[in-house]
Symmetry: C2
Subunit: 141 residues, 2 copies
DNA sequence: TATATTTTATAGCACAGGCTATAATAAGAA
DNA sequence: TTCTTATTATAGCCTGTGCTATAAAATATA
């Protein structure tokens, strides 16, 4: 049963979509992490963000600048980072999507540890339809 | 049932892994596409590669240069692009991983069309363990 | 309060992937 | 064979993400 081929345009569009999603993937990771740190420690500091992202501190500072530019976070010099309403909403969505993915992966037989890491990688590329199907799969089983 | 938190190091490692995988993701896409074109048309030409990737021709040329640099493909000026043994092996692996993913997604309730696009996005971030679990899920069901 | 330490910001560099414009070559037509 | 057309290569630019080294500000300590 060979899958029928997509048209060149469709195929190109798929790659384009994937590229665009990559652009927001990092922002989602930072937003999610800021929410996490705020929750755990009461505030999200640049140093902690950098440590948990596994990047150098200036890299985190630069990413935060971009978050601010895009209206997802705020911060004043030498103070912690805070999510805007929009950023918080994104964090909530990302968190729930992550939990859904981990749930399905574990149900399929992936260990919790691997599921967490895999979900981290793939979560940014999940379509609404796939997410809906995964939620249904979780609640139906 | 709150998931226990990963240590900062583990979490950072997860992000690092995701970043590294992103670096090979594009190469995988190109390799897969070259195999596809060779199969369909007998050869993979730069113009066709660019069209199907949805990028400008010089972008494809540059990507191909990188494939050559990494020993995945060969080409002579103004001729088609060919995979090396290593490149062909990668193409085969990527193809099978893609089919596995699409199979599982469809089994979970995602439409074929969405499954193809979603698989394209997430396939590069799938761990060996997740892939093995997906294969088992497919054959057990 | 003055000084030391920690934290954040800035400067400057590299690489990858995207683009447009243009040159060079190959392939097809006159 | 010569000329036109299609294809590929090259040049040069922008943006994003990463880095190290260093400056500046805030915090902690003497």
């Amino acid at each position: 049963m060979p899958e029928e081929k997509l048209s060149p345009e469709k195929q190109a569009e798929g790659f384009s979509i994937a590229r665009e999603k990559q652009a927001v993937a990092l922002m989602e990771d930072y937003v999610e992490l800021i929410a996490e740190l705020t929750d755990e420690l009461g505030e999200a500091r640049v140093a902690d963000i950098a440590e948990r992202m596994g990047v150098a501190q200036p890299t985190a500072t630069k990413a935060i600048a971009r978050l601010k530019r895009e209206g997802l976070a705020t911060s004043r010099p030498y103070r912690g980072v805070f999510l805007t309403a929009e950023g918080a909403q994104m964090a909530k969505f990302v968190y729930e999507r992550h939990r859904t993915l981990v749930g399905v992966l574990m149900k399929i037989g992936v260990s919790k540890e691997a599921a967490e890491i895999d979900a981290e990688g793939i979560e940014h590329f999940v379509s609404d339809e796939m997410l809906a199907a995964f939620k249904k799969f979780l609640s139906d089983t």
